[in-house]
Amino acid sequence: MIDAVEIRSPGETHIEVHKFYSGAVTAVVVLALVVQTLLPVYLRRAELLELPLLVTIYFGISRRNPSRGLLLGMIIGLLQDSLSHKPLGLNGMAKTCIGYLASSVGGRIDTEHPLSRFAFTAALMAVQQCVIVLIRRLLLAQPERFFSMRFLAAMGVNSVIAVALFALLDRLRKPS
């Protein structure tokens, strides 16, 4: 059985694709959503966390399959929407974009180094914020600021946590 695959395409040296133990993706997604709902009850600052986004990014850059990445992003986003009172599709579309971007761009740059993971997460958080604000403004006619101090704080916190979380999730990869 093949655990890690190298894909060669024109203009690319090679793309290493990681596989995970069965059920790991589902378990991590559900756990992320549960922790995201539970943690702010006991630690209000935890509402800055965006675990569903971090999980979307991680599996995107690890599996490096844009179709799978965007579908996983869509599922996570829609689940997130359904657990809030916002319209279904707001986070769905944002996470779809993130899943697609993470898996497309993730294959072209180094996403194994902690610094690149930090920067990549921060960049994708900014992209997600832009997508959400655009959807709110254009489709829902809701005024929303692009950036705020709160968002910048969330970007910093999540990027730091991403480095630790991604290292933890690396353990769920099947050995290549």
Partner: protein
């Protein structure tokens, strides 16, 4: 049939998935309610795990606090806190009754018509998964007769209202959410104005023009006009007043500790609080939209069913 090159398949799928979700959004904007089935499924999936997590955290913390650190002193402290909370609620009731003698007749009428406003104790088992969405989940649902639009309070003040009810769980929209609001008035001057959430940890009084003098520190209580909360429940205190055009910009710090909610009370009533006698109209600034039809004044009742949180 046109064959799509393999490298463009994911891009085509991306476009289709986005288009489908735009369509989903458009459908929701036109029709209410919004995606009820998917919400029920996801809440059914997540809430048992959240409930288990909440139970675990509570018991681990309880074991630590009760048996290792303080033992009996902790229990006694909890009992005293509970007693203080009950007494605070009682004091608010008595203060409200004594504050305005004109409303006593209306209160009497109300108390005859509605002997009790039952409350249900509930535990907070989760929060929103979206930072922009200020909601919490409680462990009471349709099985406990919880319904949409019921008010949620703590002994400190207003928390929010029920916006979705599931079998064993309900979703509460906090008063500080952008989409939230509560009929409010200044406790001393009786000037009414809706208080709305901002998405930040404070509320704003929306329609008070510059002629109305508002002091920092003034108490804001419910007016009862929203027909969700009885009058005189604390909403918060005025934290900042700035002149504005056409209305003042007034920030209100919520009375309830919304950042530390573990137990709340659900007001188990949806009936409008009507009285025979109209309460004298409070001064409402010109140009401000009026709230829903007049309702009577009543202090919060204290009939509580279920275990205290």
């Amino acid at each position: 049939m046109i064959a799509i090159p393999s490298r463009h398949r994911s891009l085509a799928l991306f476009g289709m998935v986005l288009a489908a979700q735009v369509f989903l959004l458009a459908v929701q904007i036109r029709n209410q309610p919004r995606g009820r089935l998917l919400r029920v499924w996801s809440v059914s999936l997540i809430s048992p795990l959240g409930r288990a997590g909440s139970w675990s955290v509570t018991h681990v913390r309880g074991a630590w606090n009760h048996y290792i650190i303080l033992r009996d002193a902790r229990r006694e402290n909890d009992e005293l806190r509970q007693e203080v909370a009950d007494l605070r609620l009682r004091v608010q009731q008595l203060e409200a009754r004594a504050a305005d003698a004109d409303r006593l007749a209306a209160l009497l009428q109300f108390s005859k018509a509605h002997a009790e406003t039952p409350m249900l104790a509930a535990r907070v088992i989760g929060a929103g998964v979206d930072a922009a969405s200020q909601i919490i989940y409680i462990d009471r649902g349709s099985r406990d007769n919880v319904r949409r639009n019921m008010g949620v309070i703590t002994p400190d003040g207003v928390v929010g209202k029920i916006i979705e009810v599931f079998r064993d769980t309900s979703q509460v929209l906090l008063v500080t959410d952008k989409d939230s609001g509560v009929g409010a008035m200044l406790a001393d001057s009786r000037i009414q104005s809706p208080a709305g959430g901002t998405g930040e940890p404070w509320l704003v009084l929306k329609y008070l023009d510059n002629d109305n003098k508002v002091e920092v520190g003034a108490r804001v209580v419910t007016s009862g006009m929203d027909r969700i909360f009885p009058p005189e429940i604390p909403v918060g205190t005025v934290a900042e007043v700035k002149p504005g055009n056409p209305f003042q910009q007034i920030r209100v710090k919520p009375a309830a500790r919304l950042d530390r909610l573990e137990g709340v009370f659900v007001l188990l009533t949806l009936q409008p609080l009507e009285t025979q006698k109209e309460v004298p109209a409070s001064p409402l600034p010109s140009g401000a939209p009026r709230e829903s039809s007049p309702a009577a004044a009543s202090p919060p009742k204290t009939a509580i069913s279920g275990a205290r949180p």
